[in-house]
């Protein structure tokens, strides 16, 4: 596989983006109520491809929306008839701009579960038809710790094209997958192929970026120590000021728990698959009334253990990509980083 790197300047990048927007269904961060959502855009001016990290929501809703139709049914006096839903609005060919590396990594992590024992075809289709163009950050945000986790941020291939700032106002566009390579060939017309200094400049940029992290940890140690911490009294302590608001799970790029609900009207109904959260009291409530996780610390234990132990055991990767979105969104700023470090002590 031979992946090309192109070189341009900020103006050239803008032109590249504009060309994409005019040629493809394009999604990019758009500001709404002070935060940035990945939304379908028609012009570059309405979006911000370099949206601030703490205020940008994840790209997850483009692949796993907050609510999606699964099927429809219609009941008549003869019986119940099932039908497929109308066309999936997210299944078309599209390009996503301004994705962060961590966010893109989350999709790689999710692929594991979505293509596991049951293959989610809707998700697969959405993934397949999407070109991810990722911007590498220049500086870590307060709650970022992606470099401390089990993936190579620098050489990540979770997205198709990486946009990396070089020296002297240079910008490099690097294909990371074959899909990206083809895409760049078709769309990066007029851009020069980068010269020899590109690799070095990109490396420097990464080193500068990597040195800007406030949070650092050794994930192998965490993974190892967490295993024996199921009964850790720390869970009670770290969850004491949690308000069980579910925000962390809803904004988390890797959280993928969902609920199934049938909404009906007269004799017809739609089955929906919507976000849910293990922080919700109802999440484990059983029909008989028993709830194995009625209290906050047990739910927090589940959250932390799932991210750093269970998922790792099953799929070999952590279910946390260190984006810090949960901590930013949390009304009381509970940090998953702090939690696992305290528990793994």
């Amino acid at each position: 596989m031979n992946l090309t790197t192109y070189s341009t300047d900020p103006a050239g990048l803008q032109a590249f983006y504009e060309a994409i927007i005019s040629a493809h269904d394009t999604y990019a961060p758009v500001e709404k109520f002070g935060k940035f959502d990945f939304t379908r855009v028609d012009s570059l001016s309405t979006c911000n491809t370099d949206s601030p990290i703490p205020k940008t929501m994840s790209v997850k809703p483009l692949f796993f929306p907050k609510s999606a139709k699964v099927m429809k049914y219609k009941a008549t006096s003869e019986g119940t008839e099932l039908t497929d839903t109308e066309e999936d609005p997210l299944a078309g060919k599209r390009v996503v701009l301004g994705v962060r590396h961590c966010d893109a990594r989350s999709l790689q992590v999710l692929d594991a579960v979505y293509k596991w024992d049951y293959v989610d075809t809707d998700y697969g289709k959405r993934r397949e038809n999407t070109i991810l163009i990722s911007t590498r950050c220049n500086e870590a945000s307060t709650h970022c710790f992606c470099t401390s986790l089990d993936y190579d941020v620098e050489q990540l291939d979770a997205f198709d094209v990486a946009v990396i700032n070089g020296l002297d106002e240079k910008v490099y566009l690097q294909a990371r997958t074959e899909k990206g390579e083809t895409f760049l060939k078709e769309n990066a017309t007029g851009l020069a192929v980068a010269n020899g200094s590109a690799q070095e400049e990109m490396k420097k940029q990464f080193e500068k970026f990597a040195s800007s992290f406030r949070l650092k940890m050794d994930y192998t140690e965490i993974n190892e120590k967490m295993q024996g911490q199921f009964d850790s009294p720390e869970f009670e302590d770290v969850s004491s000021n949690c308000v069980s608001c579910n925000t962390c799970a809803f904004v988390c790029p890797t959280c993928h728990c969902f609920k199934i609900s049938d909404e009906k009207l007269r004799d017809e109904g739609v089955r929906y698959k919507s976000y849910d959260s293990c922080n919700n009291v109802y999440f484990t409530l059983m029909a008989g009334g028993h709830n194995p996780r009625p209290v906050k610390y047990r739910r927090w234990r589940q959250r932390a253990m799932h991210k750093f132990v269970y998922y790792k055991e099953r799929f070999g990767v952590n279910l946390c990509i260190g984006c810090g979105k949960c901590t930013t969104s949390c009304p009381v700023n509970i940090s998953i980083f702090e939690v696992v470090n305290k528990v793994a002590k």
């Binding site: 008549t76 006096s77 009207l265 007269r266 004799d267």
Partner: protein, 657 residues
Amino acid sequence: MARVGVFVCFCGANIADFVDVPAVVEEAKKIKEVKYAIDYKYMCSDPGQGMIRDAIVAHRLTSIVVAACSPRMHEKTFRKALSDAGMNPYLLEVANIREHSSWVHQKDKKAATEKSSDLIRMAVAKSMANEQLHEISVPVTKRALVIGGGIAGIQAALDIADARIPVVLVEKSPSIGGKMAQLDETFPTLDCSQCILTPKMVDVASHPYIELLPYSEVLELDGYVGNYKVKIKRKASYVNFDTCTGCGACWQKCPVKVPNEFNMGIDKRKAIYSPFPQAVPNKPVIDAEHCTMLIKGKCGICAKVCEKGSIDYTMQDEIIEREIGAVVVATGYDLWDPKPYEEYGVGRYKDIITSLEFERMVSASGPTGGVPVRPSDGKIPKSVVFIKCVGSRDEAKGIEYCSKICCMYTAKHAMLLHHKVHDSHAYIFYMDIRAAGKGYEEFVKRAQVETAATYLRGRVSKIYKKGDKLMVRGEDAQIGQVVEVEADLVVLATAVYPYKDNSDLARLLGISYDKYGFLSEAHPKLRPVETAKAGIFLAGCTQAPKDIPETVAQASATAAKVCGLFAGDTMLKDPMVSTVNTDYCTGCQNCVTVCPYQAIITEEIPLGHGSKEIRTVAKINEGVCQGCGSCVAICRSMAIDLAGFTDMQIINEIVSI
């Protein structure tokens, strides 16, 4: 699986002419849950009900929808049909396709048909959430409370007691008898009021099933139908009724004189008194406001003269409690104060009196020995003007309603005047003569003929004094002229007005009253003796102006209601009451605040299964709950639901069209 049967009624032509009934049936059959649908000419008829009964069995139906007239009309009928077929009657829903569709959309059959189908769809949807309900049985305390010892209270108490149901009769004055005891003779037969009333009063006193509590007031009523608790204040009488023989020595010797209320203040009574000679119980009480012994601690004559030593100046008010199952309110009326009629000189001229004062004067046992006299000089009046509708039917100064009895008693007064003062002449100003009643019109005619009284149709505009006479100026509408009549005495037929503390009593009992203070019946036609609060009934003028026969009839009707209520050991109540799901209840007690019947109390339950910690939740007293649903709508956690109108039922209806 739900199996609903839909029964669509033609109601003869009432529905069928404007709604395509077979099409509605076909439409109903398309609904998933409907397993059987049929139409019939008259669903409420016996064969119609038979169809329902048969179909329930034949098609194993789990709920029934009848599309017919308003549920307010035949819901009970159809519920009975369900019961007869062995099905819970509350699994019925009625789709109102007559009042709400065929009768109001007579010009658009298509729309009416569509709407009828929708109404059926809603009823089917609602019935999906219907649950089996069972009438609530509430234990009954078989004892009645009668408030007021006038003729209404006496009659009610006697009738109930005759059915061997204990009665507590509470009367605020020292003796029962009420207004009727003050009357001389009664229209239209002119029989002596005392003669017919006093035997009943004696019956009350001696009846083994009646507990008579004179000189007492109701303070508090708690509980609900069949299970009330009443607090009664027995005012201190300062006389030990158990030992007092009613000999009268005390009141003969008492030096304090007080205007006599029984005689409308025409003469004086003593500070220790029995209101009238035939009083029941015939025991005196001491008027604490006037007795010098009680005010200043001096005198004590009555105690000295009492041979039995029954006088006890240290006696205190006593509060007693009784458990009762039903209440009859018979607090009677007062005469309306004619003060606003300034042009009549009310209050300025002594020789203007009210009808009840006249009644006392002409009474053989009255203060003037049965002869009417002028209060100013004691002379016997020769020319007497009676003015009717003083207050009544006068929106400007008085009240809007007709007091009903004034026409009759004024005719009677003319007759009594004629009997007592043969050379007198009566002038009667009237607006109309309303004499509807058995023998009433004949009585008025007889009065007019026998007394030759002058009936003048018109309102009096002014009364002024000329010498020692009163000049009454009014219009005679029949000749269209202003007339002036020289009168020795003017008698005002003042309006019947509710007893002044009626509204306070109503609030205390938790029943409603109108703007005048008359207590409101549950339905003006069909439930004229019940109040909206179950187990409280109305008798006599406390509800509206009435004459004696009507009062007695209503009193007996209340007795019938009370006896009906007490017929079994328990009483059955509509199951449409609120229920609390304690799992969801947060114990905020907002429902307790909004319940108009105080039907919600709190209880403590374990926090969780087997838990030692407790939490407080709401609890509905089914006997009290009337099923309004106020609590349901304000319950944020939806812990309360109203049987028969559950959230699920209503939401099902909403989303079904």
